[in-house]
Each structure stands twice: as structure tokens, then as C-alpha cells.
Symmetry: C2
Subunit: 189 residues, 2 copies
């Protein structure tokens, strides 16, 4: 998605030649019009799936998910992150390790919001090691719903997430795929 | 806003005659079309203000904020909640106590996203004790920006938040104002 790639190149900040910060349009300041364009692109890529629900994770996945949901007229559900303590028979949970933060969280979704007849599109802002997306996919499987695919805004293709998810049989659609950071510049695949 | 009040009455769950759960359209599952209608209503109420930026707090304020920002074509910034530890010269912070969780969080916004010339609309999902909104207002003041008002989806009018914020000179616009929970029913003001 060219518009997104251009935005990453003009407004993204590369720290230590390894970390990309896109706080100015995605992760702290959000550009709603860009989020809508991204939503339109996800709808285009998954147009043949009869999506009934979008699943994401707080917080940065929410904006682009609600735009996608607005176009498709389907609900969005977002998993909450908690320190591992909450359980209960009424929630699906999955454990997600964050390499960035060096800690594990339990993500959870109330069982009432996912049914076996749902066709679920997972959406998230970043894909690096794939822990969050794998946790969300695990929850979809617990609910016996159908996972139609995983839509990612920015994929760091030099980290193993995309490969792991594809190997597990999931369809991954990433709108910007980063091959490397070279001399402070983003190189796309 | 009648559509919202009806939705609260049909889909809201009242626990212990004191807590309202609206997980099915606002706090875990999100109805994007309702969020857009709410955004339109905020735009209508604040139409005479030249809003340049919307400020909210993760996670449940994000969906309605991005819809409002989409209509107004202005950026949304969301404060993050952290345990009190993060500081730094490049962020505005405010301390926010959560009565629900019985803990304090430091909310923060990168200084680069708020300028003295900004006209800021604060948006949040719930207003009860007013701690989050007051913290956001404090950050707007630190940035020397203009706070044009506070837009709230659901106000618990029997708690002191709205009164405190109004007494502090802020314009508060709440789309559903709850007077009381009576016999398991929501009574609006």
C-alpha cells in the first residue's frame, strides 16, 4: 500500500537502526483518514470472505479495526491485556509474550462475543514475532470460529512472525512489509 | 442522544445495582456504526469550535474519537496509562486515580503532539469521578493549548465528575446522563 509506505518513510523514526516508531500517525497520534484508507485496503484484500467479526488487541489495533468494521458493518472486538491472573469460565484467554516489554500478558475475550459460526478477521498494527496474532488466533480456535485471515498494518519481515503464522496455515496480509533498516532508511520488501 | 440511550437500555447490564457494563457495543465489542453516530453528535455539539486535535485515553475512548476525528479531519492523540515510573522531558504526564481498579496510573502524551495553538476536544467513554478527564485537561493546560470542551459518551451523573469539571470551568457534553439505577433499570436525567 503505497500511501502507507510513503507515510512510514516521511514520518517514521528509526531508533538504533532496529526500532521503528510511528507515533505520529498510528501509535500515539492517529491519523483517522489514513486509518480509513487502511480499512478500505483490508476490505479489498479480504472481499471474498464473509467476515462477520473483527478481532484486535488494545490499544493500537483499535482505530484501524473500527474503520474496517464501519465499512463492513460488522462488530469489532478487542482483547484486553492483563497480567496473568484473571480467569473465569466466561472468557477465552491466551498467553502472549511481549519481546519489547519483556513480559507476559494474558489476553482475553468474553466468550459471548465469539461464536462457532463467526468468520473472523484478525487485525493488528504491527507484526514482528507474531506473539499477539498467534494468541488471537488461538482464541478464535478455542471459540471454534473460522479465522479468515490476519490483516497487519506494518510487518517487520526480518522477524519470524509472518513466517510462523503462514507456516501455521493462516493467511497473512500485511500492507507494508519491511525488509530491513539500512543507514537509517526503511527498505520495503 | 436517543439512539445511545435506547442501546444502553437494551444492551447494558447493571451489576449490583451500581455498575453499568456496556461491553457489547463500547467496552469490549464495539459497534462501529454507533461509534460513527456518536462522533456525528459530538461534531454537532462542538461545531462552533475550531477543533484542531482530539485527545482521549486508551483503550475505550479510541473508537469514538477516531470517528469524530474522521469527520473533522483532525488527528486523534491517545494518552497511555502506565504505572508511575516513566518520566522524561519530552512527555507531559498527569496522575490519574482509578476508583474501579483502586490504583494510580500516570498518563502521558509526547509533547510534540500538543501545541499552544491547538484547540483540543477531550473525548472519553465514561465519566464518573472525573479523574481521567481532569488528568487529560491538566495535560492540555501544561501544553498551553485551548481546551474547547469534554465530550463524554456515558455520564454517571450521580457521581461527582461532571460537577467537578463544570465547576472547574470546563464545558462538558455527555450524550447519555444516568441519574440512577432503579430496580435494575437505567434512569436517565
Amino acid at each position: 500500500m503505497d500511501l502507507l509506505k510513503q507515510r512510514i518513510q516521511t514520518d517514521g523514526l528509526i531508533l538504533n537502526n532496529s526500532l521503528l516508531k510511528v507515533d505520529s500517525f498510528l501509535n500515539q497520534q492517529i491519523d483517522p483518514e489514513l486509518m480509513m484508507k487502511i480499512g478500505e485496503e483490508f476490505v479489498r484484500r479480504f472481499k471474498d470472505e464473509k467476515i462477520t467479526k473483527i478481532l484486535t488487541i488494545e490499544s493500537s489495533g483499535i482505530a484501524v479495526s473500527v474503520m474496517t468494521g464501519l465499512i463492513l458493518k460488522v462488530p469489532v472486538i478487542f482483547a484486553r491485556k492483563r497480567k496473568p491472573k484473571v480467569t473465569g469460565d466466561d472468557v477465552y484467554t491466551a498467553k502472549v509474550y511481549s519481546y519489547t516489554k519483556g513480559e507476559s500478558n494474558t489476553i482475553m475475550i468474553s466468550k459471548q462475543f465469539l461464536q462457532p459460526e463467526d468468520n473472523v478477521l484478525i487485525i493488528d498494527d504491527f507484526l514482528a514475532n507474531g506473539e499477539a496474532a498467534a494468541g488471537l488466533a488461538n482464541i478464535v480456535e478455542q471459540a471454534k470460529a473460522k479465522l479468515v485471515g490476519i490483516g497487519i498494518v506494518i510487518e517487520k519481515s526480518f522477524q519470524p512472525g509472518a513466517q510462523k503464522l503462514t507456516a501455521a496455515g493462516y493467511r497473512v496480509e500485511s500492507l507494508a512489509r519491511i525488509k530491513a533498516f539500512t543507514n537509517g532508511q526503511v527498505e520495503f520488501l
